[in-house]
Each structure stands twice: as C-alpha cells, then as structure tokens.
C-alpha cells in the first residue's frame, strides 16, 4: 500500500513575510543537482510504485501509475534533461503535478525542503550553465550559497507534448 505524503504535512513551511513577489517552491534533487518547482503546481508526493510501461514512447516517458484511481503519466526528467542516472532508493519519490487541467508526475531522487523566494532573488537562466532545455527553466535561485534551478512545469508539459508528438499522426 502506498502511503500518500501530501505537500502540506510533509513540508514544514517557514514563515517568511508574505508579499506579492514571494513564491513558494518545492526543492528536489535530480542527479545530484538541485531543482525547484512552484508549489502551487504540485498535487502530492508519493513513494515509488509499480509503473506500467507504455510502448511507442520516448525513453523519458516511463509509463503510467495509479494515483487513487486515476491513470497518470510518469516522466523521468533525468533522461529528458540528459542527466546522470541515479539508482532508485528509499529516497526516490514520484511528484504529481497538475498544470492547467493536465496531470502528470515525475521521478525525483530526493525531496528537499520547501523554500520561499522573492522574484528579485531569481536570476534569469544563463545560456550555457544548465544541461536542461532552457525553455523549461524560469531562472536560477540562490539559497544559502546553493544554486537551485527553477523549472516551469507548464513549459515542461508543452515540451513533453512536443517531444511525444501528440496529434502528429492525426
């Protein structure tokens, strides 16, 4: 039985003064690098469970999982972003996101803390600094000396659709 870890009770949200340009992010590790996504796009975080493979898909599409009766796609961003492969461990989690009306999930190597960043603290992505597709990156945030790449899940979803090529055969 998979235990659901909802964002609310998993992450202890520090109380930073609320202001308009402050946004909350969930930080996670992918192949030893730190990434973050907007917390409002995240539905829940689950332990790794049985993934059903779907044929005819690019490698980064691992397949589908069952999230309480819904069939949700699972992506491996390490493959998508050409990052190093990390073996699944106890810390490996599946993050379920909902952007627009589309739900999907992706594997992360480890869930880190929940952070708040003001927009001014986010620098635009340098052109060559990152391995990952620039389109999906909002910018680079700095947190206690660590660099965190912030990913736009909406863009990621569009990128995925493009790469899968949905609708091309129609």
């Amino acid at each position: 039985m998979v235990e659901d870890l909802t964002v609310d009770n998993m992450l202890d949200i520090q109380n930073v003064e609320d202001s308009d340009d402050v946004e909350q992010f969930v930080c996670f590790k992918l192949a030893n690098e730190e990434y973050a996504v907007r917390i409002i796009d995240i539905q829940e975080v689950n332990r790794v469970q049985m993934i059903t493979h779907i044929p005819q898909m690019p490698k980064f599409v691992l397949g589908v999982i069952n999230i309480r009766g819904s069939v949700i796609s699972v992506f491996d961003l390490r493959i998508k972003f050409n990052l190093a492969d990390v073996a699944f461990s106890e810390k490996t989690k599946i993050v379920v996101a909902e952007v627009g009306s589309v739900s999907f999930s992706f594997i992360v190597d480890e869930i880190l803390e929940n952070i708040k960043l003001s927009k001014s603290k986010i620098d635009p992505a340098p052109s060559v600094a990152s391995n990952i597709d620039k389109d999906c990156v909002v910018g680079i945030g700095e947190l206690e000396g660590r660099m965190v790449t912030i990913i736009d899940l909406g863009k990621l979803q569009e990128d995925v659709i493009r790469e899968i090529g949905v609708g091309n055969t129609k």
Binding site: V71, V102, K170
Partner: protein, 931 residues
C-alpha cells in the same frame, strides 16, 4: 468532444460543430501557412497537406449544410472545390490561390464567430465566393463542376434566412425565465421532435388523421403555454397561431392539406430555431413576422371557407361553443378574479340537452342543480328557467362555474341521461394584466378563449396518460458520471478484497501444514517419552530420578505442543475466514448490482436519435426528388446516453449516404423490378453485450469493380494491392480517406470524406462497422457498439512481464500450439488452425515495445483475436483469467499510441493496458503488406 450534458438536439450539434470547426480552422490555418512557406521555397506541397485541408473544409461543409447554415456551407463548398482540383492535379497551387484561400479562411472564421455569438451565420460571402470562382473559371473550364458550383451557390443564396431582428419587444430575461429555461428547453425540444414525428406520420397516412391533429394541437398548445411561462411571447405567438390553425381542423375533423402541412413545418422549424437560439445565447430573438404571416394566411383562408360553409347550413349540429360565452356581463371578470383569489377554479361548462327530450326545461335545471352542488354558477346562458320544452332542436347551455372541485368531478356530476357534455374547460384567470400581443384579425371573444389553458380539456387522454405516468426527475449527468466512477472504484475495491481473501486463505492453508508438522513433532515426543519410560523401568536411583524429570519435561512439552497446535489450527480464524469469504461474494453481487443500477440510469432509448432521421430522410428525398420510405425498428433499444449522443453524427452521415448514393433515382428504379419507392431500414437490437444498429437500403448496392477503379484513379490504392484484396476488403475502400463513388457532387453527401470519419467515430466508441452488399439489391451497414463504455469483460494475460487486458468481445478462442506446427509463410509466422492458416504476431513487435521476452518454450499459448472480419493469433506468456474491468482513459500524452485503447486498474492497484484488437489487426496487416 465536449462533455455536453444537454439533450441531443440542434443546439448541441451546433456547439459541437463550433468546437469541431475550431479544430479544423486551426488545421486549415497551419497547413495554409506551411503551404505558403513551401511554395515560396519553390517546393511541392504534399498531397497529405491538401487532403488535410480538404477534409477540414469538407467536414465543416457537411455539418453546416445539415444545420442549414448556408453561408458557411456555401463558402466551404467553394474552398473544398479548389482543394479538390488541386488534389486531383487539375489545378496548380500557387501563392495567389493560397491568398484566395486565406481570404476565404478569414471570412469563414468571422462567420463562425458570428455563429458563436448569436447563432446565425450571417455575413457577406459574395466577394470571396466570386474570387474563388474566378480562380476556378480561370483555370479549368473542362469540368462542369464549376457550373454545378455556381448553380449550387445560387441555390444556397436563396436559402439564406431572413435577418435577425427582435420582432416583439421583450424585456430582458426575467427571473422566471432563468429559473425555468432549462426545463422549458428540454420539454420543448421533446415536443418539437414529437411534433415532427406526428407530422410525418400524418403525411404518410400512417395514423388516424383526427388523432394526429389532436396530438399536434396538444403539442402546439403545450409549447404555447410553456413559452408563455418563460415570457417568450414571440414563440408563444407562433405556437398560438399553429394551435389556432390546428384547432380549425380539429373542430371540423378534417385532414390538413399538404400546403398546410408545409406551413406547419415552417412554424415548428421556426420554434426549433428559436429554442436553439435560447439555448445558445439565452435570450436571442428571431424574426417571427414571416412565419406568423404564413400561418395567418392559412387561418384566414380556412375561415373564409368555413364562413361560406356555415352560411349554407344554418341549423347544423355543430355549434360554436364560444357563442355560449359571448356577451359576458362586465361584473363577471371581477367574480372570476375573486374566486381565483379564494383558490377556486373557474370552469366553462357547455352541454346540450338532447333534441328528443320532452322535458328540456327540467333536464337543464337538473343539470344546473348538479353543477350548483359543486360550487357557484356565476353565469348561465341561456337562462335555464326560460328553456322551452317544445323546441325541436337540441338546446345548448353554457355555464360558468366557480368551484374547488376538479374537472373530472364536474364531468361525473353532469353525466345525466339525455345530456351531452360538449366541453368542460378550466379557465386560467390571470390576475396580472395580459401582455400577449394581439393580432389585427383576432376578434375579442376569441382572444378570451385563447387565454384558457386547455390542458384538462382532453379528459379521456388525461386519464390515459395518468395511468402510465412514470415519475421522473432531472439529474445533472455529471452526478451520474461521478456515480459511475464510484461504481467503477467499487468494482476495483471488490477485486482487491477477493485477492486479499485468497491470499489469506493461502496463508491459512500454510499454517495448516505447520499444524500437521507440529503434531508430527508431538508424535515424536510421545515416542521419546515411551522409550524413556521403558528405559527408566530398568534403571535405578539417580538415573531414575533423572528419567522422571525428563519424563515430566516431556509431559510439559507434549501439552505445550498440544496447546500450540490447537492455537495454530486457528479454528476461529478459519470460521472468520469463511464468513469473510461469504461477505466478499455478497459484496461482489452488491457491487455488480450497483454497477448495473447506475448504468441503467444512463441508458436512454435510441429513439431520440432515430426520430430525427424521419425528418432528415423526408427533406433529402424531397430535395433529390426520390421516393423513399424510412422504416425504423427497435427504437426502444436502450444504450448509454453518451454513446447515443456520439452516434448522432455518424448515423446522420450514413443515412444521408444511403438516401443519396444508395437509393436510385425514381427513373432508374423504374428500369428494375423494384418498387418505385426506395426503402431505407434503420434498426437497433441487442446482441449480447453489444448494440447492433443496421442501416439497410434496397438501392443499387456497392460495385467492387467500380470501387477499385475509383480507388486507382484517385491514387488511394495501387493495382498490386487491389489484386491482393478480397471482394469484402474492396468494399472497405469506401471507408478510406478521400474516396467517393458519387459521380455527381451534391451538397447532401459530399465527396465521400465522411465515411472515414464515420468509421473513426465508431471505433472511438470501441465499435465496428461492417458492410454487406449485393450489387443491384442494396447495401447493409451494421454497426456494433458495446452497450456501455465504462465496464467490460476482459481476458487478462501476461506478455513480457506486463499484464494486458483483452476485451472478451474480441477474443474468439485460446489455443495451445506445439512449436513444430508453426510454419513460416512468406516470412510470416503462421499456424494451422482447423485447416485455415492463422498468422501469429508477437505483441512486442506490433506495439513496438523496447524489450522482448526470450523465454524458450516448446508449446505456445495463443489468444485468437478477431475484429469481426479478420482473425489473428497473439502469443501470450501466461493467462491470468477473465475479469470485469473498468476502463480508464489514458492521459492525453498517449492518445496516439497504436494498439492500446485504454487502461484499467487491477485488484492490486497496478495498471493493465487494454489492447485494441482492431488497431492491432490493422497494424499487423500493414506489417505483412510491407514485407
């Protein structure tokens, strides 16, 4: 497709049409842009692109013409013509032509925008159409299709509906309007459908005309009444006129002539359009002057005829009942209002005292006495005291009664010998000022009568319907959908329970083994004890003491062992497990009951869709001047509402095809031994878990040679491929994109792009279409669709360590094949099955899975899949068994995956993919063809 919840009707089709068109516009736009780019680079635009654009234009045209949006259909027809010429290499695509197409595209977008905003496709298309014609005329005068085009455009210009203008001043939507509009639309559309149906029956002399007129009258009346409630006086007025017209025929017991029928059709169409408008925009108004004038003309004409007639027969038996209630005293209105305020009903009762009665005065007085017992007579004409016994004709009496009693009470009260009740009607006394617009010709007494709701007038029919009345309530389909999902979850949970129970059973049986082992150990200890006792009897002293101690220990061990084995045998657990097992099977039964119960709430008769076609066939037959009977069977067959909704369009297309292409012209039919009138049969029936819909025509049938020729000509197929095809396969050509057999292009069924869409839609519903045809005798299309989309019986198998579900519908058998009976025929693995070669495919290749199992087996398990026509063997590693599974759709990311139609969640929470037999067979055939 949108998840529209409303009844299937025009406005829903319009909504669907709009959302569909958006998609096609996008396609058109993208492809036009791409084409322009390609042309600029001096490269050639691919046929595929042209096909895509052609299909987009054609699909919009088809639906628009069905919906009578002549501007849109006219324009898209022109676009389609250009693209068709380009496709057939009759026209070279230039940047100029692309420009023209862009212009047309822009105009089309604005027409569709207009349609979205106010439900009409008003707009000027002449410029663009002229432009396109210039292109067409300038390049090819060879074909006569340009001529056809302009002719058609001419026709369609005439068909343009009058501009929208508010005919009557109506205030903004009132509260009542918003409150009742949903129910109003539902009822009205139903009534409209019924009206159309009765009209057609009437036209075909299939019903008792008097009954039919009665019913039509009632329907108009109901529409009038409910339109009044939502304060749509414009619709009310049209319905009112129709009612008026019908009431003439009703009173005279006459059959409406054909021109009257057409006028009534115009009327009901107008109402339908208006209702559709309301649904679209909530409060749009259509111009009703035209319709009203037409209806009024008929009424006037009739009146004239009648008045001349009534002049001829002064003392006829027919008496205008309204005469009895003319010249009412002024104070009567106040009396009525007071009565209404007191909660009493006001009735107009008219009766006649038989002409043969010798005591007319007394009879009338008795009758009034009876009425007075029910309430108060506030008016009576003539005064019954003054009735002369010696009058030789019948005496007519009109009474206005205020009473708390109901109509039927009155009816009973005055059922007296020699008294003939002419009419009892309830008068709706409105306390508010009447705002209904009056017409110039209506006379005052008539108007008063029209205010009267006649719902209760038809006493016999009221009681009749009351007997079979089904209590219903409206439920938002979203609620049903969520119930359906919950029922699905229940099925999954039940499966989980069943699995857990079997797991626990397994555990228990293992512990039983332990008990046996334990008792074996106990036996050994007992043996030891015995041996010890034997020994101790021969020993002395210390040894004996030791032996005694050992003996004691053994005794303890023994009893401990006994206790333990008792505990381990888990008698308690066993009985509990037994109850659990029972409970689980009870749960199974409950869950399947709930499931079928919920499912049944979603079931609606297919009648709603079928009824539409009567009108459709009538209209097309008239347009094409063909004589066609539509026979409908099994319209009571029920299936999931969602499927019924989705089926509307493909069926419309197929029926249009049958009528247009299938049935020959009357002249051609005269040359055969067939009856002059063609017959199209539409039937629905159950076949196991499927519904089977057949569309049958006695027309000319499909000619496989003609089909082949055409396919060659159009470049859809090569001669080589055609040679390999069987007769039956050749008929399938009509489902290929870009195919048509009609030499003459008509606005009705177009150029055959539709049939591939038809097949796709049906396949999306997990259904199949089959063709059965005989040249010269007719064609039969049969569509098979699973009754419900949500839950199916499936065979679960393991292939390459992954669980797949195969719909049981598609599994014809499971066979075991020894390795040495597998042959290779032209590179294809085949096996002999009862004398026939069955080709084997491995799913890994078909689905293009990355991994491949390399288990070495001597014998293989083969599941034989069928799509109705073809069969194919799929090798599986392991069979799990049959189960009921809930179909879940895959995320959109996977909408293009071939061979898989969905997913299902199994008892252990894992996901199994559902295999799509049709697409697997198709893929396999393609693979074979490639080799």
């Amino acid at each position: 497709m949108s998840d529209s919840e409303i009844d299937d009707d025009r406005s829903e089709i319009i909504a669907e049409f709009l959302s569909e068109s958006e998609q096609y516009l996008q396609e058109l736009n993208d492809n036009l842009l791409k084409a322009e780019e390609i042309l600029k680079n001096d490269e050639e635009v691919s046929v595929d692109m042209i096909n895509t654009m052609f299909r987009a234009a054609h699909t919009i045209k088809g639906t628009a013409s069905f919906l009578d949006f002549s501007n849109i259909s006219g324009l898209t027809h022109e676009m389609e013509t250009i693209l068709d010429r380009v496709r057939n290499s009759e026209l070279v695509l230039t940047i100029d032509i692309i420009d023209v197409l862009f212009n047309a595209f822009d105009t089309l977008s604005s027409l569709l925008d207009r349609l979205k905003s106010d439900g009409t496709d008003e707009g000027d298309t002449t410029d663009v159409v002229t432009e396109i014609k210039a292109v067409l005329d300038g390049t090819s005068g060879k074909t006569d299709s340009a001529k056809t085009t302009s002719e058609e455009a001419g026709v369609s210009q005439e068909k343009i509906t009058p501009p929208v203008e508010a005919a009557t001043e109506v205030a903004a939507p009132s509260e009542d309007f918003l409150k009742y509009v949903g129910a109003y639309l539902d009822d009205t559309f139903q009534n409209i459908d019924r009206f159309n149906e009765v009209m057609i029956q009437l036209e075909e002399n299939k019903v008792d005309p008097i009954e039919a007129v009665n019913e039509l009258f009632r329907i108009s009346h109901t529409i009038k009444g409910s339109s009044g409630i939502i304060k749509r006086n414009d619709i009310e007025l049209v319905a009112h006129k129709m009612e008026d017209l019908l009431s003439k025929y009703r009173e005279e017991k006459l059959v409406p002539e054909s021109d009257i029928v057409s006028t009534l059709f115009i009327g009901i169409d107008w109402i339908k359009n208006s209702a559709a408008q309301i649904r679209e925009t909530n409060y749009a108004l259509l111009n009703n002057t035209d319709v009203i004038q037409k209806l009024q003309k008929c009424i006037d004409k009739l009146k004239l005829e009648k008045s001349t007639k009534s002049l001829n027969e002064t003392t006829g038996d027919s008496v205008d009942v309204s005469q009895l209630f003319s010249d009412l005293p002024e104070n009567l209105t106040a009396l009525k209002e007071n009565a209404t305020k007191d909660g009493l009903n006001v009735f107009r009762v008219s009766y006649a005292v038989d002409a043969n009665c010798v005591t007319k005065n007394i009879k009338a007085n008795v009758c009034n006495e009876k009425l007075a017992m029910l309430g108060e007579i506030i008016h009576c004409k003539p005064d019954v005291e003054l009735i002369d016994d010696n009058v030789e004709t019948a005496v007519y009496v009109g009474v206005i009664l205020t009473t708390s009693k109901l109509l039927k009470d009155i009816d009973i009260a005055i059922s007296i010998d020699q008294i003939e009740v002419i009419n009892i009607e309830k008068e709706e006394v409105s306390l508010v000022q009447e705002v209904a617009p009056t017409t110039k010709t209506a006379n005052p007494t008539k108007t008063v009568k029209k205010e009267v709701a006649m719902k209760e007038k038809e006493t016999p029919s009221t009681t009749k319907t009351a007997g079979v009345e089904v209590t219903t309530m409206r439920i938002d389909t979203r609620r049903l959908d969520s119930l359906m999902n919950l029922a699905g979850e229940l099925v999954i949970t039940r499966a989980k329970f069943a699995q857990l129970v079997s797991e626990v059973k397994h555990e228990v049986s293992q512990s039983k083994e332990n008990v046996t082992r334990l008792s074996q150990v106990g036996g050994k200890i007992a043996e030891l004890k015995m041996a010890l006792r034997k020994n101790s009897s021969q020993s002395l002293g210390d040894e004996n003491a030791n032996a005694n101690r050992l003996n004691k220990i053994f005794g303890l061990l023994e009893s401990e062992m006994f206790n333990l084995s008792n505990k381990l045998s888990m008698k308690e657990v066993n009985t509990k497990l037994y109850s659990l097992d029972e409970a689980t099977s009870a749960l199974s039964k409950l869950s399947s009951d709930i499931q079928s119960g919920v499912m049944s709430t979603r079931m609606v008769p297919i009648e709603g869709v079928f009824t539409r076609f009567k009108r459709l066939v009538r209209d097309i037959a008239k347009e094409l001047k063909k004589d066609i009977n539509l026979e409908i069977y099994g319209e009571e067959t029920e299936l999931d509402k969602k499927i019924v909704d989705e089926l509307g369009d493909p069926l419309t297309h197929m029926i249009r095809n049958s009528v247009d292409h299938g049935i020959e012209t009357t002249e051609d039919r005269a040359l055969t031994d067939k009856p002059a009138a063609g017959t199209v049969k539409l039937s629905a029936s159950y076949e196991g878990n499927n519904i089977c819909i057949q569309i049958n025509d006695d027309g000319k049938g499909l000619d496989s040679n003609k089909l082949s020729e055409k396919a060659l000509e159009k470049g859809i197929l090569t001669q080589e491929k055609l040679d390999q095809m069987t007769e039956k396969e050749k008929f399938q050509i009509i489902f290929m994109p870009g195919f048509s057999t009609a030499a003459q292009i008509t606005g009705i069924s177009g150029r055959g792009v539709g049939m591939d869409v038809v097949r796709r839609t049906i396949e999306e519903l997990n259904g199949t279409v089959e063709i059965d045809t005989e040249l010269g005798r007719g064609t039969n299309f049969s569509i098979k669709i699973p009754l419900t989309l949500a839950i199916i019986q499936a065979l679960l198998v393991v292939i390459n360590n992954q669980v797949f579900a195969m719909p049981l519908e598609c599994v014809s058998e499971i066979i075991k094949v020894e390795d040495d009976s597998i042959f290779s025929v032209e590179g294809n693995t085949t096996v002999k099955l009862r004398g026939h070669a069955l080709s084997l495919v491995d799913l890994e290749t078909i689905l293009r899975m990355n991994t491949k199992s390399n288990e070495n087996k001597n014998s293989r398990k083969i599941v034989v899949l069928t799509d109705g026509d073809e069969t194919i063997g799929v090798e599986v590693d392991r069979l799990i068994g049959e189960d009921e599974i809930v179909i879940k759709s895959l995320p959109d990311h996977f909408s293009d995956v071939q061979g898989i139609s969905g997913a299902s969640i199994l008892g252990d929470g894992s996901i199994a993919l559902i295999l799509d037999a049709t697409s697997i067979i198709r893929e396999a055939q393609q693979k074979v063809n490639v080799r």
